[in-house]
Symmetry: C2
Subunit: 203 residues, 2 copies
Amino acid sequence: MPAKGGRYHHGDLRSALVDAAVDVIGERGVRGFSLAEASRRLGVTTAAPYRHFADRDELLAAVTARALRVFATMLASAADAADTPARRLAAMAGAYVRFAAQQRPLFDTIFSSGLDKSRYPELQRAWEPVDALLTVVLEVCDGDAVTAGALSDAVEACAHGHAMLFIDGDYGQGPEAVESAAAKAVAAAQALIAGRAALRPPG
Amino acid sequence: MPAKGGRYHHGDLRSALVDAAVDVIGERGVRGFSLAEASRRLGVTTAAPYRHFADRDELLAAVTARALRVFATMLASAADAADTPARRLAAMAGAYVRFAAQQRPLFDTIFSSGLDKSRYPELQRAWEPVDALLTVVLEVCDGDAVTAGALSDAVEACAHGHAMLFIDGDYGQGPEAVESAAAKAVAAAQALIAGRAALRPPG
DNA sequence: GTCTATATCCCGATAGAC
DNA sequence: GTCTATCGGGATATAGAC
């Protein structure tokens, strides 16, 4: 906590800036984020961040990396609580929606930052644990890689779509709407698993 | 066409501004859009738009309304080309993805403008034709409204998710990637239809 | 219906002091 | 490692002339 109007000397401005950025994004959206505003909230001048980040986008990348760690953790713990591969996959779809709802600034940052991912190797690395989690589909499909790839895409798309529709307010607001949306995502994943024969590419 | 540096007197600046806005959004994204830039491209001053729109957001709302009309048209013509309710639903999922790919500025505007929809009745009206198209699911489910509602949500979410993943570049670029992504959305819709029994809310 | 001119605000980024 | 000071740029929006 910086003293009001005082200087900020606790030596972890870098990390504090990431926190502040999340707050700003939560209130004003990704597009409303600015280095200046984050600095102001910490009681430092707008010049200070440049000791720790080359520019605005680099801070945004740091926020994204943190967001992806949280995301992967939520998906993993949902998967761990289920007892079959199919249930694990469905549970991750539900966790996907809950992450969007409960950590909306992080979700927005991951998917709407507008950052050119290829320019930030840090981000590509941060995505890997998330992608790895989707490999459970291989077990669901008994090692059939073609069907597994299709199922993986479909479940991911479906979970993402439910998350977006929830955020858009189509399912209402409040904790009960979150659970309702998550349940829809779980059910859709189960339906996709059940109907996965239709997913195989033509031919 | 405004003369270079000349005045703009053709009397349809309002409509021209919507066109220009689409161009700007196509090049810089929704968040890069500004009234000033759109004005500049038409050779008018930044004050001119205020004769036609109260503020920046009102122009953005006009763009969104136009985008929704195009969207509804694409979905409808895809549905018309299919011969069974189930195929119509699946065809709309494919058209959803194609719209995102072929009319990306419009898609972005609809889903990422950050506009508070409840404040623009014009937008709520513009959504109605799109929502109405999804009622084909009732036929797919033989009038079972509960399953139909769940199936409708699932297909919409899935199509939306595939569109987003395509835009994010996860499926590659180019016309062939578009068709691939659209095919995935169609297949996913079919899988959801096939597995729709799993979609019914618990109980 | 558009222009000129202007007021106001915010942002990113840098140089140099401490 | 942070501050002071500042530059340059771009946006929204308004007032008043034509």
